[in-house]
C-alpha cells in the first residue's frame, strides 16, 4: 500500500514529466564538478537541457555569478560546443573566462538594443541544437515567455541561463532552478598575504523537484571545491512551483 506521500511525489513527477521536465537518470552523466551541491537536484544530477535563473542585482554579485557560471560552462563546453551570450549592458570581460577553463573565443556575444529582442534572440539560440549554453541578461520575463524558452530547450537540450538583475521583478516561470551567487571573503592560502581563491555563497533558492539550500564553494586550481564544514542545507517551506 502506497503512502500518501509516495503518491503525491509520484504524481508530482508525472506532472513534471508531462510538462517536459525530464530529470536525467542517475549516473548517466558524470556531473559538472559541483560536488555536494549536485545532490540538491533531482536524482543528484545537475540538470542540463533546462533553464537556470541566476539572480545578480549588484555588479559584485554579477561578477560572482559570472565566475560561478563560467565554471559550469567549462564542463558544458568541453564537448566542443559554442556558447551564446545575449545582453544589453554587457560588461563581461572575455579574458577572465580563461581563468575558469573556458575558451573565450568560443563565446559569441550578441548585444541587442531592446529588451524584447533579448528574449527573441534567446529563444532562437535555444532552438539551435548542440550549443553548449545560452546566457541572456534579462530584466523581465513573463511566464509565457519563459514557457517559450522551455519549449525551445525541450527539443534542443541546450542549457540556458537567465541573468536577472532586478530581483523585484521575479515572477513564476519555468526555470528549473533559481540561483543567487554572492561573493564571500576569500581564505588566504597557507598564511600568504593577499587575496585567495574566489569563494562564493551559492544559494539555490528554488529547484524543481529538488532541495533548495545554501552552499559555500570555491574555485581553485581549475575546479570547484565545496567548503564542506559550513554546509547548511536549509529546508525551505514547500513553494508553489509555477
Amino acid at each position: 500500500m502506497e503512502s500518501k506521500k509516495d503518491i503525491v511525489s509520484r504524481l508530482q513527477k508525472d506532472i513534471l514529466r508531462w510538462q517536459g521536465f525530464n530529470p536525467p537518470p542517475a549516473g548517466t552523466t558524470k556531473g559538472i564538478g559541483l560536488g555536494l551541491l549536485e545532490s540538491a537536484f533531482p536524482n543528484g544530477v545537475f540538470p542540463t537541457g533546462t533553464i537556470h535563473e541566476m539572480i545578480c542585482p549588484t555588479p559584485e554579485q554579477a561578477a560572482a555569478t559570472g565566475g560561478f557560471m563560467s565554471g559550469i560552462l567549462a564542463s558544458l563546453m568541453n564537448q566542443g560546443g559554442a556558447c551564446i551570450w545575449i545582453g544589453i549592458y554587457r560588461k563581461l570581460f572575455p579574458p577572465s573566462l580563461k581563468h575558469f577553463n573556458v575558451q573565450p573565443d568560443r563565446l559569441i556575444f550578441i548585444d541587442v538594443q531592446r529588451e524584447k529582442d533579448v528574449l527573441w534572440a534567446m529563444e532562437e539560440a535555444l532552438k539551435c541544437e548542440g550549443l553548449a549554453a545560452v546566457i541572456a541578461e534579462v530584466r523581465e520575463i513573463s511566464f509565457a515567455q519563459s514557457r517559450r524558452l522551455q519549449l525551445a530547450v525541450e527539443s534542443s537540450k541546450v542549457t540556458g541561463f537567465l541573468l536577472r538583475n532586478d530581483p523585484r521583478k521575479l515572477a513564476a516561470n519555468t526555470c528549473s532552478a533559481r540561483w543567487q551567487i554572492s561573493p564571500l571573503p576569500s581564505e588566504p592560502e597557507g598564511g600568504l598575504p593577499g587575496i585567495g581563491f574566489p569563494r562564493w555563497q551559492a544559494e539555490l533558492l528554488r529547484v524543481r523537484n529538488g532541495n533548495p539550500g545554501i552552499w559555500q564553494i570555491e574555485w581553485a586550481n581549475g575546479k570547484f571545491i565545496p567548503i564542506e564544514e559550513e554546509v547548511s542545507v536549509i529546508q525551505l517551506p514547500q513553494r508553489k512551483v509555477g
Binding site: 548542440g130 576569500s186 574555485w219
Partner: protein
Amino acid sequence: MQKRFISLWFRHLVTDWLTLRRPELKEVPFVLVAPIRNRIVVTAANALAEEQGISVGMAAADAKAIVPDLQALDEIPGQSAKLLKALGEWCIRYTPLISVDLPDGLILDVSGCAHLWDGERGYLKEIVTRLRSKGYDVRAAIADTIGTAWAISRYGKKTPVIKSGEQRNALLLLPPAALRLDSLILERLQKLGFYTISQFINLQRSALRRRFGDSFLLRLDQALGNEDEHVKLLRPIEPYSERLPCLEPIRTATGIEIAIKTLLEMLCKRLTAEGKGIRSAILKGYRVDGQIIQTVIGTNRPTFHTGHLFKLFELKISTLEPALGIELFTLDAIKIEDAEPEQEILWQAGGTGLQDSSLAELLDRIANKIGSNNIHRYLPQEHYWPERSVKLARSLKEKPGTSWRTNRPRPSLLLPKPERIEVTALIPDYPPMLFIYKGEKHQIAKADGPERIEREWWLDEGEHRDYYQVEDEAGRRYWLFRSGHYSGDHSKQWFIHGFFA
C-alpha cells in the same frame, strides 16, 4: 499595371494532335466525324482537307463527295478540352495565369511577363514557334483585352501585337464575328449589312442594345476594355486558408484545440506538398453572437510542422473567448515562405561548434533582425592594457593568433570606462585602506598588487596605471587602479575598473 493578354488559336487542334499520334495521316486529307441529330457531320478537318473545300459542319457524305479519298475518323468526345488543358499546363512556363478558351484556344494573362523574352514581339514569337515546331498550327495575338486578342488572333491580318490602348483601331476592319458574338446576332448583323465592326462601333448604344441586346454590348465593351472580363484560371491562385465549420458551437478549450489541430493539419498538408512554410498565421473564430475573435502567431523560420505551430497556438487559446460558442474557424497563413528541407545529420560529434552551419544560420537570423554589427566574438590580442587585450573576430572561422593569458588576474566584469573613486591610502604605493564608490564605503580587508600597466607609447599618450586587486570586508572583490605616480594631489587619481568573481 496595364493588363496584357495573349490569345492562342489552334486552328486544327484535334487533327494536328492526331497527326502527331499517327504520322501516316500527315499526307492525307482527313476529317473527324460525329453523329449530330442523326446526321454524320464533320467536326474537324485537317489543313489538306480544308484546302480542298471541306469545312466544319458539313455532312460527312458531302465531304466524301468532294474528296473521294477522304479519311473519316470518329471524333473522341471531350478530346479538345483535354488537349487544351495539357497545352495550357505546358504554357505555364510563360505565365502562371492561363485559362482554357473552348473550343480551340487559350488565354494567357501575360501582364509583366514579356520583358523576360525581349519584349512582346519576341515573347509572342517564342510561344508561336515553339508550338508550331511541335506540330500545332497556332495563331496568336497580344492586346490589352481578351476580346481584342481573341479577335486579332482569329481575324487579324496585320500585326499580332496590338499596342496598349489601340484596341479600337485594331478592331475597326474586322468582321463582327471577331467579337465572339452569338450566331443569332451575327446573322442579324449580316442581314442588316454590317460587315465590319467599324460600321456599327460608333452607333448609339441605346440603339444597339434595342436591336442586339445586352450581351452584344458586353462583348463590344470587353473587346474595347471598357468592361472587365474574368476567366477561369487553369491553376487558380488559392489563398493559404482553411475553413472549419462546426456542427455545434464550440465553447471549450479542448474543442478549440481540436479545431486548431484539424485546421493546421489541412493547411500543413498543402504547405508540405508545395515546400512552403508558415511565417505568420491568423486564426479567426466566428462566434454565435456575430463577433469575430482572432489570434495571430508568428514563427522565426518558415515551418510546416503541425506540432510546432500548434504549440504556438496553444499558448493563445486562453486569450480566445468563445462566449456562447464559435461556429466557424478559419485559419489563414498571412505570410508564407519557402521552407528549405534540411539535410539530416547522421550523428553529431560533440556539440555545435563555431564551424557548424546551424550556428551560422542562427546568427544569420539574429543578424537579420538586430543587425550584424551587434554580434561579437573576441580573440586575444597581445596587449596588457585591458581595453586593448581583446579584439573583435572578423569571422566565425578566425582562430586566436595567440593564447589567452591567465598569469595575471583579470576581473569578470570590466567597466567600459573606469569610474572615479575616493580612496584613503596610508602609505604611497600601497593598496588603499578604504574607498568610496557610488556613495558606499568599502573597507578593504585584503589586497594584491600593484600591477603596473604602461600605456603603449606608440599607440597613445598618458599616465600608466597601477592596478590593485582588493577585497572588502564583505568579501566583494574589485579592481582598482591609480593613474600615474603617487603625487601630492591624489584625489583625482583613483579609479575602479572592474569586479572580480
